[in-house]
Symmetry: C2
Subunit: 351 residues, 2 copies
DNA sequence: CATTAGCACTCGGAAAGAATGAGTGCTAAT
DNA sequence: ATTAGCACTCATTCTTTCCGAGTGCTAATG
């Protein structure tokens, strides 16, 4: 798509004022917002041109212009200046991030909240799905005469534990044997490799009258199941209603419903090889998103797995700012996973 | 408040048809819905009476009647028949409940979802706050040359763990000593009793050059902090918009915002000595709830602590059914906590 | 005295019409 | 190529009109 310099400036002016005002923008206001030295009539001609190209559209004959999805796309690809976070902004973001982020669950939850607060759009955080997870290590701890804790550590260093109470007492030796059996037979296996035969054989080897093996093994299987799946957290659903395009309930409701379903949100991904993704209106495949936009950024969870954070909002979105903030949070998350800590707020760097 | 039998029947008819239709109900439709053998004129007289008593109200002169909050209150207190769950219903509920409910976090999350699905209203689940939580037991497990897992078990049998990586290698003996020190010095203490002095003394006693003590202790403190707070999970926010009273965005939005704030929802409680609570419209203290109703039920988490589940919806709510379902879920949760398992679906009993 | 039939009246809401004005597209002039 | 000027379009807003469900009251009835 080839545009003259003047057309680009006009397109950009339309996008940027529309993003602010949410009102169709007319030739006069472009005159004010950009510093073109031409008359409104000239601009009208250009607008007609841009409309013919499918970059803008007219809600009705006597209204101003509104960016069409293609227009936003052009803006995002070619016109948008990279939004540089100001010092204040960085500080605010860091402040927001400096929370007790630890367990994955918590991290995802908080990340979603933070992004939503930062962008004023509903946000979500997805942890990476990991198709092959295995148990790295089992531990069992005797806690009372007839209760023990099983600790399962997966190969992505996630820990889970559960307390088991038993009808009978248990000796330290029995537990010891249980532990070495488990570590011997069930580490390094994916969920599929936990076959009933294997479990039965192990139980027999231990002479397991209380079903200890199956207890712990099925716990381990739950853990693997859980680790394998993507975790989906959404936040800030309520902020959707704050935007004028969703004042119309018939638009807000399907989107809300979409967002409330974890499996929908979990299906959102960033194309291979990219770290961010912007899908504008009809570019989205899911019906409920057809007239909204989705902005995504990936973060690194270590282990070559990627998580995703993102927001959903009207196509009229300040893509530059939203992208910048998402990227910043994604970057911070990557560092969190890499180093086990959040970046120092004084540190400054360009991606 | 004394009503004649006929007045009661009329009030009840108004509430019940209004709950279904969401339209003001007139004298004629009452005639149809109830089996009074009187004319519409008589009913009109009674309606005027009930309106004068503040039990009904008229949106405008030429409209039918709508229950006033006092009317709902009377209905809930005196008129409402206890909704008996049908066999099908029970089955559906059980099916919904039979999920992998384990970790508290997950339980709360699921409970909220289930209640929301069951009632078609936004729902929430609160775990009990526990003012005095202590660590019951510490365990440490060596996992690699320079990494260990700390497991903290609190007196409500909650388990948390964390993996610590260290710059230096660690001997099994060192860890052993760490464990006994922690168990000796820090079990049975509330968060407040973890004084800096105590921590310093413990570190010295161990000759702790790597800061092991402070690592594990601050982890334990996080755990206590977390266990002390109430956990708040909300679900089904989107179902709010499905109800006609929230088609008006100016009503839906504040309520959404209210529900999105954990601290708001967390403040909802059931009065001492009751197991359920119904707050109708203006009976609510929080501004955002003034024209909605809140229905709550408590469940028993063991340890004499009570959790709460509940829903928020329009005052026009089918209180009988909602209450019955909430109670059922609450009961199931209680049993889950008591026995560590869900009630058998074949089992049937009256509360 | 409670109940009822009958009827005038009220008032919200839908439908139709009129006024407003921002913004366009076109034409003719520069 | 640009621009001033002007007729025209069409959402939006404000009135006006109309409709009917439902009431409240009165007078008649058992």
């Amino acid at each position: 798509m080839d545009l003259t310099e003047r057309q680009k400036r006009i397109l950009r002016a339309v996008v940027e004022t529309y993003v602010q005002t949410a009102e169709p923008v007319g030739s006069k206001s472009i005159l004010a917002h950009s510093d073109l030295n031409v008359s409104s009539a000239t601009i009208r001609n250009e607008l007609a041109e841009l409309t013919a190209l499918g970059l803008l559209e007219q809600p009705h004959t006597s209204a101003g212009r509104v960016p069409a999805p293609k227009g936003y796309r052009f803006y995002v690809n070619a016109l948008m200046e990279e939004h540089r976070l100001s010092v204040q902004e960085t500080e605010r973001l860091n402040e927001a991030m400096h929370l007790k982020l630890r367990e994955l669950d918590r991290v995802m939850d908080e990340a979603g909240r933070i992004v939503s607060r930062l962008t004023q759009y509903p946000a979500f955080a997805l942890s990476a799905g990991k198709p092959r997870v295995t148990v790295k290590r089992f531990d069992v701890l005797l806690v009372e005469r007839a209760a023990f804790i099983a600790v399962v550590m997966t190969d992505n260093d996630h820990l889970s534990n559960r307390l088991f109470r038993l009808p009978q007492e248990l000796s330290r030796e029995q537990l010891q044997m249980l532990a070495s059996l488990l570590n011997g037979s069930f580490t390094g296996l994916t969920l599929e490799e936990f076959t009933p035969q294997l479990i039965r054989a192990a139980a027999q080897a231990l002479g397991d009258e209380m079903g200890l093996v199956s207890m712990v093994v099925s716990f381990a299987m739950e853990v693997l199941e859980e680790q394998r799946g993507r975790m989906v957290k959404t936040a800030g659903l309520d902020s959707l209603l704050a935007h004028p395009e969703y004042q119309d309930l018939s638009r807000a409701q399907p989107l809300m419903r979409y967002l409330a379903q974890a499996e929908n949100v979990g299906a959102l991904t960033v194309p291979e090889g990219q770290t961010t993704s912007v899908l504008i209106g009809p570019e989205n495949v899911h019906e409920a998103l057809k007239d909204s936009s989705v902005v995504l950024a990936t973060y690194d969870m270590g282990d070559n797995t990627k998580g995703v954070i993102g927001v959903v909002g009207p196509t009229r979105m300040d893509y530059a700012t939203v992208l910048a903030r998402l990227e910043y949070v994604a970057q911070s998350l990557s560092r969190l996973f890499e180093r086990g800590q959040l970046p120092d707020s004084t540190e400054k760097e360009d991606p």
